[in-house]
C-alpha cells in the first residue's frame, strides 16, 4: 500500500507486526501432546513515525517493546506484518537493498558497557561504519570522525580511546555517533538512557532533542519510564503483552488515559514531589 503521488509516505510505517516464540513445554504437556498456542511476543502492532518526530514506546518487561524494536531492523525475523521505510517493505529485501534500508534505521542499545567492541578504538569504530556504507566524507578518516564526535558533543581526544576508558554516558554518546555515521533518518533508542545516572540521562535526552533539531533525525524512543518519555516524545504508544493498548500525543495520553494499563502506569509513577505521595490505598 504505497502512497501514489501527493501525500508523502510516513518515514516508518509498521502494519500488523507479529512475532511468535515457541512455547516451553512441561514434561506433562509433552507427554500428553497438548496443543499449545505459541507465545506472541509482538501481537499485531501497527504505528507510524514521521520525519523529525520522536515517538515514545512505553511498557514494562514482557510488553514486547524490545522484541518489536528488533523486528523493525530484522535483528529478529518477524513472523507477520509489514515494516515500511518510505513505502518500501524491509521484509521483502535481502543483501544490498536490505543493507541500504538498515542504514536508514539505526539502533542504540541499553547497555553502554556492551554496545561497543571493547577492542576497537572509538575512531576506528566510527570510521568503519562510514567506510562500510561509503558515506561521503569517509575517505578522510580524521575529519569524518571529528565531525561525528562533534555531533555528540565529544572532543576529538576521544578518537584514540578504547571504550573501557570512557564513562557510561560517554559510551552511549559514542554509540549514538556510530549510528549517525551512516546518516540514518531514524534512530531506535532501546532503553538507551536507562542504565545511566540521572544527571547524565538528562544530558543524553538533550542530545536526542539537539539531533532532532540539527539533523532532522526521527527517534523511536523505547523506555519503561514514563517520565523519561515525557521529556522527549511528541507522541506515545503504550505496549502491554505485545499489543499497543493506547497511543496518541503524549500530553493527551497522560492527561486522559483511556486504557486501564496506562492508568495503572500513571498511578504507579513515583512522583519526586513528596507532597504527591501515592494516596494511602
Amino acid at each position: 500500500m504505497s502512497d501514489l503521488g501527493g501525500e508523502k509516505a510516513h518515514l516508518l510505517e509498521v502494519e500488523h507486526l507479529v512475532k511468535e516464540f515457541g512455547v516451553r513445554r512441561s514434561v506433562a504437556e509433552m507427554v500428553t501432546r497438548t496443543k499449545l498456542d505459541p507465545h506472541r511476543a509482538v501481537d499485531d502492532v501497527s504505528f507510524t513515525l514521521d520525519r523529525g518526530e520522536i515517538l515514545g514506546i512505553a511498557g514494562g518487561s514482557g510488553s514486547g517493546k524490545t522484541t518489536m524494536a528488533r523486528c523493525l531492523i530484522r535483528l529478529i525475523e518477524p513472523d507477520g506484518g509489514a515494516v515500511r521505510v518510505d513505502g518500501t517493505d524491509i521484509r521483502k529485501h535481502k543483501r544490498a537493498e536490505l543493507r541500504e534500508l538498515r542504514r536508514r534505521m539505526q539502533m542504540v542499545f541499553q547497555d553502554p558497557y556492551a554496545s561497543l567492541n571493547p577492542r576497537m578504538t572509538v575512531g576506528a569504530a566510527l570510521h568503519e561504519a562510514g567506510k562500510v556504507h561509503n558515506r561521503p566524507g569517509s575517505e578522510d578518516e580524521d575529519a569524518f570522525v571529528s565531525r561525528l564526535l562533534g555531533l555528540v558533543q565529544l572532543s576529538d581526544r576521544f578518537a584514540p580511546r578504547k571504550p573501557g576508558e570512557l564513562s557510561g554516558g560517554q559510551r552511549q554518546r559514542v554509540s549514538i555517533a556510530r549510528a549517525l555515521a551512516v546518516d540514518p533518518e531514524m534512530i531506535i533508542a532501546d532503553e538507551a538512557v536507562s542504565a545511566l545516572d540521572v544527571s547524565v540521562q538528562a544530558q543524553l535526552l538533550n542530545l536526542f532533542l539537539d539531533l532532532r533539531e540539527e539533523l532532522g533525525v526521527a527517534v523511536l524512543f523505547i523506555s519503561h519510564q514514563l517520565a523519561v518519555i515525557a521529556e522527549v516524545a511528541d507522541r506515545i504508544a503504550v505496549m502491554q503483552h505485545g499489543r499497543i493498548v493506547e497511543a496518541g500525543p503524549t500530553k493527551e495520553v497522560f492527561a486522559h488515559p483511556k486504557d486501564e494499563y496506562t492508568q495503572a502506569l500513571l498511578r504507579a509513577h513515583p512522583h519526586p514531589d513528596p507532597r504527591m505521595r501515592f494516596a494511602a490505598n
Binding site: L75, F109, S115, N117, P118, L149, S155, E165, A179
Partner: protein, 295 residues
C-alpha cells in the same frame, strides 16, 4: 531555546594519563606474570642462543670426563659417553621449545576459526564442528599420540601430527563457547544493525574478542605439549637419539640415577622450571581477568 553547548566534552584527566607505553603496561602486570615471564624469557633466550652459549657441541665427546659430576668445566656434569650435559640441555631445550611452539600455535588460528564459526552460525556448521570435536576429545590423548607414532614410525612426525589433531578440538570448543556469549552482546548486534557483512562481524569484531581466553589456555597447553614431547622421547617414540632432547636425556640418565644423578635430574629441573614459568604467566593473566580483556 538553549543552543548546543559550545564546548565539547573533554577527555577526563584519568583517561588522559598516558597508558600507551609498553613499559607502563608491563609494570602493571601481576607479580606472578612478571616472575613467570622472567623465567620463560631467560630460558627461551638461552635456548635461542644455544649454539653461542653452549660450551660444547651436543654430541661432542670428552673421553677424559666420563660420568663426571658438575664442575666448572662441565656445569651439569657429563654423561656416560663424555657429552656435556649442560650443552645437551641447552640444545634440547631449543628443540623442545621450537617444536612445542610450532605444534601449539600453528593450528590455533584454524581451530579458533572453526569454533567461532560454529558458535556464530549454529545450525549444521555447529553440528559438524561440534561432533568432530567431540570425537577427537573422546580419544585419550596419549593413546592417540602413541597410535599415530605407531603408524608413522618413531620420530618427531608422529608428535607433530597427533597433537594438533587432538588439541584443535579443545580450542574449537573454547572459541565456540566464547562466541556464543559474544554473539549476544549488543556490539555484535550493532554490526547487523549497521549493515556489516557477516564476514566482517566474525573476523573483525568477533574473533579478537574470542581469542583471548584461547590464548590464556595455550599457556597450559604449551606445558602439556612439552611434557608430552619429553614423555614420548623418554619412551623412545619421539625424538630419536642421539639428537638432544630433554626427555631423551632424562631417559638416558635414568640408569645412572644413583651413581650419576645429574644426567637425569638437572635437565629434568630445567623442564620443570619452564613449565612453572609458563604456568605462572597463564595463571596470572587469567586471574586478573585479562582473558576477558579487562584492564
Amino acid at each position: 531555546m538553549s543552543a548546543t553547548p559550545a564546548t565539547p566534552i573533554e577527555v577526563t584527566p584519568a583517561a588522559a594519563r598516558p597508558r600507551r607505553s609498553i613499559l607502563g603496561r608491563i609494570k602493571r602486570w601481576p607479580t606472578s606474570v612478571k616472575v613467570g615471564a622472567g623465567i620463560v624469557g631467560l630460558l627461551a633466550l638461552a635456548a635461542l642462543f644455544a649454539p653461542l652459549i653452549a660450551p660444547y657441541g651436543p654430541n661432542e665427546l670428552d673421553p677424559f670426563s666420563l660420568l663426571s659430576s658438575p664442575s666448572s668445566q662441565h656445569l651439569f656434569g657429563t654423561d656416560d659417553t663424555g657429552r656435556d650435559v649442560f650443552s645437551r640441555t641447552l640444545y634440547g631445550l631449543r628443540l623442545d621449545i621450537g617444536l612445542v611452539l610450532l605444534v601449539t600455535y600453528v593450528p590455533l588460528p584454524f581451530a579458533v576459526l572453526a569454533g567461532a564459526l560454529a558458535g556464530y552460525f549454529g545450525g549444521w556448521v555447529d553440528m559438524i564442528v561440534s561432533r568432530l570435536a567431540d570425537i577427537m576429545i573422546s580419544f585419550p590423548f596419549i593413546v592417540l599420540a602413541i597410535a599415530f607414532v605407531a603408524i608413522v614410525g618413531p620420530g618427531v612426525e608422529g608428535f607433530l601430527i597427533a597433537v594438533p589433531l587432538a588439541a584443535w578440538a579443545l580450542y574449537a570448543r573454547l572459541a565456540r563457547a566464547e562466541m556464543l556469549v559474544i554473539r549476544e552482546q549488543p556490539f555484535m548486534m550493532a554490526t547487523t544493525a549497521l549493515g556489516y557483512s557477516k564476514t566482517r562481524a566474525i573476523l573483525k569484531h568477533g574473533l579478537p574478542n574470542v581469542i583471548r581466553p584461547c590464548l590464556v589456555y595455550t599457556t597450559i597447553d604449551l606445558v602439556g605439549n612439552l611434557i608430552l614431547l619429553s614423555g614420548l622421547s623418554y619412551l623412545g617414540f619421539g625424538v630419536q637419539p642421539p639428537t638432544a632432547e630433554l626427555g631423551g636425556i632424562i631417559a638416558e640418565g635414568q640408569g645412572y640415577l644413583l651413581t650419576a644423578w645429574w644426567i637425569a635430574t638437572l635437565p629434568g629441573l630445567v623442564l620443570v622450571l619452564f613449565g612453572v614459568g609458563v604456568g605462572l604467566i597463564g595463571e596470572g593473566f587469567s586471574d586478573r581477568g585479562l582473558s576477558r580483556g579487562e584492564p
